[in-house]
């Protein structure tokens, strides 16, 4: 007998952190097993499911950062501390830090894509002696859309953590401009390994900047977002060229997806 792949598990929300006006981080008590880069399908009663990347897990507490973007995520964001959250997972492949051992690890993220990078960044901080350096470049549209501001002090201390805002703000003293400019300004080794997550256009143009620095697409790993309904490779919605993003991804080596990624409407 095959196990039903759609059965949901329940877990209690122990903390709800307001990140921005429409984004919350949920800390969920949970004894499952997860890997950085993977995602869960989160269900809201009567509304449906949405794939949400795992923003952290320490063995007891699972973190999901959720922006109220669609029907399901808007409803999930209405949940409170003490409520139960229903999910199935984890799904997909993971950020493999072994690839970056002995090399410079460069993390590039944009907007909510930072949620898919955060956990592997925390792991990289724990194991930073294994890399020649750890650089994290994060682009956010506005000052008010910055995520995880309460962690910045620690991240600034531990690694080369840089933020750029698309739009200037009187409260912001740091870099202003697109993430591509921040990449251009940052000194990066040719043999760096890059983990990236952000909107499709950001990825496309960031790759161009990285290539100018001699970092070839086979050293760039990208976490993709597509419309996933089943997450088990059968509903067909997330198909992207010959790949099912839900099970072959969400993380792809850029050299393997480039011919599809840079084409329209694939």
């Amino acid at each position: 007998m095959v196990e039903n792949p759609y059965l949901l598990k329940e877990a209690e929300i122990v903390e709800k952190i307001k990140e921005t006006t429409d984004t919350y981080t949920f800390r969920i008590k949970c004894s499952d097993s997860f890997k950085p880069g993977q995602y869960n399908m989160i269900y809201y009663f009567g509304i449906g499911e949405a794939p949400i990347s795992i923003a952290g897990f320490d063995g007891e507490i699972l973190e999901h950062t959720i922006r109220a973007a669609g029907d399901v995520t808007s409803h999930i964001d209405s949940l409170k501390e003490g409520d139960l959250l229903y999910y199935r997972g984890s799904y997909g492949n993971f950020w493999d830090l072994e690839i970056a051992k002995g090399k410079s690890l460069v993390l590039v993220s944009g907007g909510l894509g930072f949620a898919a990078i955060k956990w592997v960044m925390e792991e990289a901080i724990k194991r930073k002696d294994e890399f020649s350096s750890v650089i994290s470049l994060y682009g956010s549209k506005n000052y008010d859309s910055l995520l995880y501001t309460y962690h910045y002090e620690m991240w600034y201390r531990e690694i080369d953590f840089k933020i750029t805002l698309d739009n200037p703000d009187p409260r912001w003293k740091g870099d202003v401009g697109l993430i591509t400019e921040l990449i251009r300004k940052t000194k990066l080794n040719k043999d760096s390994i890059v983990f990236m997550c952000g909107p499709d256009p950001m990825v496309k143009f960031s790759v161009i900047e990285l290539e100018k620095k001699g970092i070839t697409p086979d050293r760039i790993y990208v976490s993709m977002e597509r419309h996933m309904k089943c997450s088990v490779g059968t509903c067909g919605h997330c198909m992207f060229g010959p790949f099912f993003v839900c099970k072959d991804g969400p993380i792809f080596r850029y050299s393997e997806i480039r011919e599809f990624f840079e084409r329209k409407e694939v």
Partner: protein
């Protein structure tokens, strides 16, 4: 075992199977040969045949003496393996918690008269849902496990069939419990499983003679010879990948209505959507799986951004999935050459003609 029985024994075989299974078979209804649950062998469209061409379908009285002179039904068996719409999970809100009830499909079907193309179609779906999936589909598995298959050798193809070029034989080699080949005077029965053998042994049979086996091979050979269409698969995935940006997709896109006809009649198209059906008063929500199609406008929408806005890109997705992506995903083509998409396309788009055009690019 390979045996022969008198044609009159077919009814006995049907009734024996009926005792243990719910039989689904071809039936003629409102001028179309479809598939339906049946109680009697008489409901099968014996004595009829289909005339099919691009955007053309008609059922006629056949002018030969055979029972199985009709061809495959107008749609495939997949709807009996995965229903077009079914509730797979019932969710109830009780005391602040959710309770889940798993709904399984309790069906014990016998498909009576599965042609080579549709048999291969089931094999392709087995790979998608079970054999080549790390998260096998429990709903598909449940129905599939109980399934009994009676296959029939095609005596003649329709004008849209191109099975042989997709590696499908009019006389199936595997995947059936019982295979029937209608000879001039008798039926040749071959069993593929013990389950099949059990039924055949209850019939009034005798061992097949060498010349009868020869006759069945001749029938297959003639059927292959009569095929009017073919699709050359040699190196085709690579050719498609090379022409992913070709203007041919825009040309087809202008003709295609994105009506989803082809995906509905295709034996291998498997895409579905998951929707919620709510009953607010009872605090009940049903999770429903419902057929979807890559031709539907919002199929590939991410956060209200439609990745495949143009019909051309949706047609390319469908065609490249069948003949290129599928090979990378499952090591085989997603087409079995049944030709139904040619018959039922209201825009007269013919996948075999397009293959020839793409090769010339």
């Amino acid at each position: 075992m390979i045996v022969t029985v008198e044609k009159s024994q077919l009814e006995k075989l049907f009734n024996l199977i009926k005792k243990e299974y719910e039989i689904v078979a071809p039936v003629l209804r409102e001028g179309v040969i479809g598939l339906s649950a049946v109680n009697s062998l008489n409901q099968l469209p014996f004595g009829y045949t289909e005339v099919e061409e691009k955007n053309f379908y008609r059922v006629e009285k056949s002018n030969d003496k055979y029972m199985f002179s009709y061809i495959r039904a107008s749609f495939p068996y997949k709807r009996f393996l995965i229903p077009p719409e079914f509730t797979f999970l019932k969710v109830k809100r009780e005391n602040g918690k959710l309770a889940f009830e798993e709904l399984t499909i309790e069906k014990k079907y016998a498909f009576f008269d599965v042609r080579g193309c549709d048999l291969r179609g089931i094999e392709v779906l087995d790979n998608v849902f079970l054999k080549k999936n790390q998260h096998p589909d429990s709903y598909y598995e449940k129905v599939r496990k109980n399934l009994f298959i009676v296959s029939v050798t095609c005596r003649k193809p329709s004008d849209v069939c191109f099975c042989y070029s997709m590696g499908v034989c009019p006389k199936p080699k595997r995947g059936f419990d019982i295979l029937i080949t209608e000879l001039d005077d008798v039926l040749l029965l071959e069993t593929g499983t013990e389950k099949g053998e059990k039924f055949v042994k209850k019939l009034d049979y005798r061992d097949a003679r060498e010349e009868e086996i020869e006759e069945s091979k001749k029938i297959e050979k003639n059927c292959i010879k009569s095929l009017k269409r073919s699709l050359n698969t040699e190196g085709f995935p690579e050719i498609l990948y090379r022409n992913i940006e070709s203007n041919i997709w825009n040309e087809i896109g202008k003709r295609c209505f994105a009506c989803t006809s082809c995906t509905q009649v295709c034996p291998t198209c498997f895409c579905f959507d998951i929707v919620e059906k709510n009953n607010v008063n009872e605090g009940l929500s049903e999770r429903v799986r419902i057929y979807d199609s890559c031709f539907n406008p919002d199929f590939a929408t991410v956060h209200r951004f439609n990745i495949r806005e143009s019909i051309a890109s949706r047609y390319r997705q469908w065609y490249m999935h069948k003949f290129a992506y599928w090979v990378d995903q499952f090591g085989e083509f997603g087409c079995v050459g049944c030709g139904r998409c040619i018959t039922w396309c209201p825009a007269s788009i013919d996948v075999t003609e397009e293959e020839k055009k793409i090769r010339k690019l």
